[in-house]
Symmetry: C2
């Protein structure tokens, strides 16, 4: 990452910055400060295993000084297959409009991927067809089709 940028877990005080960054990605809707703090507390609390202690949710922010420039999530799913294996899911990667074009998405993906591969036999994510090239540059390859029902 460029000068002045740093990365850390999301904290309770990141309310405005995280919601603003996410609004560059999709509909955030109505989220109060209390709801945000409760969600962050939940993310910081739930474990996928106790020995070794592995948290289930890994929400991160890229900061520029004290400003949230990007955010992204890795969460870990506990399975039976692959010898009670863990799978990492990367979700909701968003870069604030003021900080796009600075490879922050790439830095965030690399960080979350490395974190995931420490514990998981694979890390997966879903993306638009137009972002496949970007994720290939991050070391990912096509694995299947994402289907949804609303």
């Amino acid at each position: 990452m460029g000068t002045g940028y740093s990365i850390r877990r999301v904290e309770r005080q990141d309310y405005e910055g995280v919601l603003q960054a996410l609004s560059a990605l999709t509909t955030v809707g109505s989220v109060s400060r209390t709801q945000f703090e409760e969600t962050v507390d939940h993310w910081n609390h739930v474990k996928v295993s106790s020995e070794p202690e592995i948290l289930q949710y890994h929400p991160y922010v890229v900061l520029h000084g004290e400003e949230v420039a990007a955010t992204g999530m890795l969460f870990i799913e506990r399975k039976l297959i692959h010898g009670c294996g863990l799978v990492g899911h990367i979700e909701d990667i968003a870069v604030s409009l003021h900080h796009q074009g600075k490879q922050l998405g790439r830095a965030l993906i690399d960080h979350l991927t490395n974190l995931g591969l420490r514990h998981c036999y694979k890390v997966i994510l879903d993306c638009d067809e137009r972002n496949v090239r970007f994720y290939e540059k991050c070391g990912y390859s096509r694995a299947g089709v994402e289907m949804q029902r609303r």
Copy 2:
């Protein structure tokens, strides 16, 4: 589902049946009875919210009498976007070789999807290109590309 079939949450005593069903899907690897029971206990314990109380993992079996004929998982992810929305992920749908061709996969998907849509603004899953038609019949539509890194 046909006569003699029923559906319920996975329980600790389903060790052999669940692993056998999963082996029709992928590599299960070495999973001891103790590891299985610990995993089921974890799934039965972790909540995605406390009020209303919503469990995070929803592992199900289709039984034929007392035999496990199929298994599948819905797990729920807690997000910020969409007004602190929940997203359901369907994973690891497996039908035992002796019970294939009896629409058990369809019954399981319908069950997990309905469960998910009670709480979540969407339910997603990843599948092979050759299974897209099946999931379209289940009411799903294409949403994106699944990428993976191992």
